[in-house]
């Protein structure tokens, strides 16, 4: 190889690598990092990206150089030199990638074991997923529709599913874990940044999959303790007027149903603002129609909606008082 061609190869390689590096740095690839685990994962991400940019630059340089330099003239029918191979070169491009991927493997394994290690003072929260809602259960017995977390304390989330496979995903935590019926899976998160982040279902779980969302709220430890106390009080003495609205919200009804009074706009199931009209269509009195539709959803299916989409578990999950409160709430607030 002549010296000139080495120089131009290097030049093209540096330009190609520079463009790739610029793309990597100029675009905000990752969302803010809000957990200790996220910091480690980001390290692996940028470590691997760096290696990828180098490999990409080498390939791009050789290819672009060849395209420009070795283009045959239209009337050139001659053949190239009959080079069949070069053992040294072939060993080199077998060994170097092997070393690189081994380095990636070791780094990843170390980060994985650090992220899986459990601290002593861990807060355990049970997460129950079902089509298409989230419930978070705290050690005190408290349940919540959104995930409240104290800052700077390791939390172990233990997942259970009531029906199909779901997945828990908070991009800012860089955490993703499937929730499988019949298994208890878990992940560890140590929040490091106060704020509100989306909780996303990240495994196709049915027609309401896109709307199976909740929020994770990271708060200062003191604020978290205060929230725990205030909620425990609320559980023991629910005020009658807001109980129905709270049940509606905590069970995630709004993920699939539109109800103006609750500010929800779900389109998977029938519009609850039109309940009186729908009850009339079904030929049933409003209150019993609403009650039956929650307890036994397949009893009457509104035309245009498929069967077996609404979970059939609410009849068991809700107490009689809760059911009554929910029915009252729905019948009084429908269409308002």
């Amino acid at each position: 190889m002549r010296r000139g061609s080495i120089a131009s190869l290097l030049g093209i390689g540096i330009v190609a690598g520079g463009i790739a590096a610029a793309v990597a740095l100029a675009i905000p690839w990752l969302p803010v990092s809000a957990s200790k685990e996220a910091g480690r994962i980001d390290f692996v991400f940028w470590f691997v990206v760096t290696i990828c940019i180098v490999v990409f630059a080498v390939v791009a340089a050789v290819m672009l150089y060849s395209i420009v330099r070795f283009r045959a003239a239209p009337d050139d029918d001659s053949d190239g030199p009959p080079i069949h191979g070069h053992t040294g070169l072939e060993i080199t491009w077998t060994l170097i990638p092997t070393v690189l991927v081994t380095a990636i493997g070791i780094t990843s394994a170390i980060v994985l074991s650090r992220n899986d290690a459990l601290a002593k003072n861990t807060l355990r929260i049970n997460v129950i997923a079902q089509q298409f809602t989230w419930t978070f259960k705290y050690p005190s017995g408290l349940t919540s529709a959104s995930l409240m977390l104290p800052n700077e304390r390791e939390v172990q989330l233990r997942f259970q599913s009531k029906d199909v496979i779901h997945a828990f995903f908070v991009p800012q935590f860089r955490e993703n874990e499937d929730i499988v019926p019949g298994l208890i899976t878990s992940i560890n998160v140590t929040p490091t940044r106060i704020g509100t982040y989306p909780v996303i279902c990240n495994e196709l779980c049915g027609l309401g999959h896109s709307t199976m969302r909740s929020t994770a709220v990271v708060m200062a430890p003191a604020a978290f303790d205060k929230w725990l106390k205030s909620q425990s009080k609320a559980v023991t003495s629910p005020s009658a007027g807001t109980a129905g609205a709270a049940i509606f919200k905590n069970n995630g009804c709004g993920a699939c149903h539109t109800l103006t009074a609750a500010g929800t706009t779900g389109k998977v199931g029938p519009d609850l603002d039109k309940l009186p009209a729908e009850a009339q269509q079904a030929g049933q009195p409003l209150a019993s129609f609403v009650h039956t539709s929650i307890v036994d959803p397949n009893a009457y299916i509104q035309p245009g909606y498929p069967k077996n989409v609404m979970p059939q578990t609410f009849g068991k999950a809700l107490s009689t008082q809760q059911l009554d409160a929910l029915v009252t709430y729905l019948t009084t607030s429908s269409g308002k």
Partner: protein, 649 residues
Amino acid sequence: MTTATLDHHDLTAPTGGGGNTVRRLLLGAGFIRAAWMFCLFGAIGFGLVVVFRWWGGWHPLFDMQPITLVSLLVAGPLGFLAGIGAFDYWTYYALGFPTRAEDHSGHGARSWRDYFRVNTDHKVIGVQYLVTTIFFFIVGGFLAMLVRVQLARPNSHFFDPQTYNGLFSVHASLMIFLFVIPAFAGLANFVVPLMLGAPDMAFPRLNALSFWLLPIAGIMMLSSFIVPGGAFACGWTGYAPLCSSHQPLGAIFFNQGVQWAGASSIMTALNFLVTIITMRAPGLTFWRMPLLVWANFTTSLLVVIATPFIAGSQFFSMFDHVMHTSFFNTSGGGYPLGYQHIFWFYSHPAVYIMMLPGFGIVSEVISVFSRKPIFGYRLMALSLMAIVVLGFSVWAHHMFTSGMSSWLRVPMMVTTLLIAVPTGIKIFSWLATMWEGKLHFNTPMLFALGFISMFVIGGLSGIMLGAVPIDIHVTDTYFVVAHLHYVLFGGSVFTIFAGIYYWYPKMTGRMYDERLGKLHFWLTFVGFNLTFFPMHIIGTEGMPRRVAEYAPKFASMNMFISLASFGLGASVLVFLYNVITSWKNGPIAPSNPWRALTLEWQVTSPPPIFNFDQIPQVVGSPYEYGVPGAQHAVLAPSPTHEVEEVAAP
């Protein structure tokens, strides 16, 4: 035309006298017999189910699920195959009728009608495969554009959730099972026997049957849209228990469609293996085989070993759905992750089933258009074998966050990362083949170079996904969608286009329009990158895949992707216009327009009906470009050919 100009089509039909056209139409193999036999077999299937349910005292007597399964998805298609004539020879033989001496009436194509019947000529079957798969490519692409219509805005309700989930599920199933895998099988069907110096495949009737299973699978998957309850809507991966017990009737159309396509794939692969092992021309040792043959040999090994696993997974899932078994149903003691393990034990090797034939095509194209021998031929062949072996040890990298035993993650990560090594060897060897060559940038070469550049990006994002900590963040996001399209579109589809343009003169006897070919390449290349590159960004930022609605912050990016995808879709029109008009009016192709050394270019375009008048004698490597006086094979000159250009050695 060549020696085999006998025209005995009528011999296959039981002809009576001159006035028996009606009888011949009804009873002779063809679409009319296929139609009534489909109905007859369907009715028998229906009757069987009802009689057994009545006998067993099961209620209700008319249960739609088993009836649809047995009558419409199993018995009916068998009737169609019998009617079209796929079983004729074997049936006559099995029933003890005198078997007719082989008259080659079912062989070769003399008019366009011969492409619409059971034909045992590997060249006709190759074209049948390609035309069918391109049809499903267009349908699948159209479905993808409908998905992009829904995703153009964050909260649009253009489609209801059932239809939307059905759109992306059927899109993926068609592209994988009805386009990429069989399109490669089609190209190989045409080319491999020619490259081997063989007159046909080892089992021509099995070959014909393999083809006719495909339209059944495609129509089955597509027709799930008109089934009551809607199309299967659980993604092409069909995870249990969502797909096995929470889906409408359409789900079993997917389960069974996969069975028909899988059976087709297995039969073809067996056929390739036997053909390659036993029918190589004298002198064509394994180490003299063109890399395309090597690629199809290794692919066929993967297909034969792996495909039965997806068949198993779909049978179990279908049993859970229709017969209420509990393979994956936890309340009956089933294990949902079992589905994923069995499914990915096929579906990861399937990624290489969709990749290795493309490697073979690119090796041919790069060597011919660089006018140089392939660099490191033996290592190229060995790296294919290495991918086959390693490919079976990486399946659980699709399941890093699935809740499987956590210790499994590190070993699966190591094998996944190691598979980058043989893949890297191939990329570097192609680059070295180009080095100091005499590069000609015809359309096949452009697609091959486009493939290398896109596949490098897809491979590098694959290494990122292989590292468990990164995968934990980006799994099931648009980053994965971007990665898989860089591998399967930038990888497989680009190589399919390279192969179609490269062998177009051989298949049709006409040259395609080079300017339109180049235009098609640039539109595809630019459209592809504009569509799929931004998906990396929204993926790492946390936009999940398989959703119909998404956070407003991704809105502008998604609108951009949707617009680009419509442009990418439109680029296919250029391809269609080119191949259709050139087939009719293109300039007549010489037998060896690319001055290639492999055997298929040493016969006329299109090749004579039995390929070679005399079996060629192979004397050297197929890639000796630039070696003075080198020859791959010696062909006996044939007196029956009108014009025979022998490659200038």
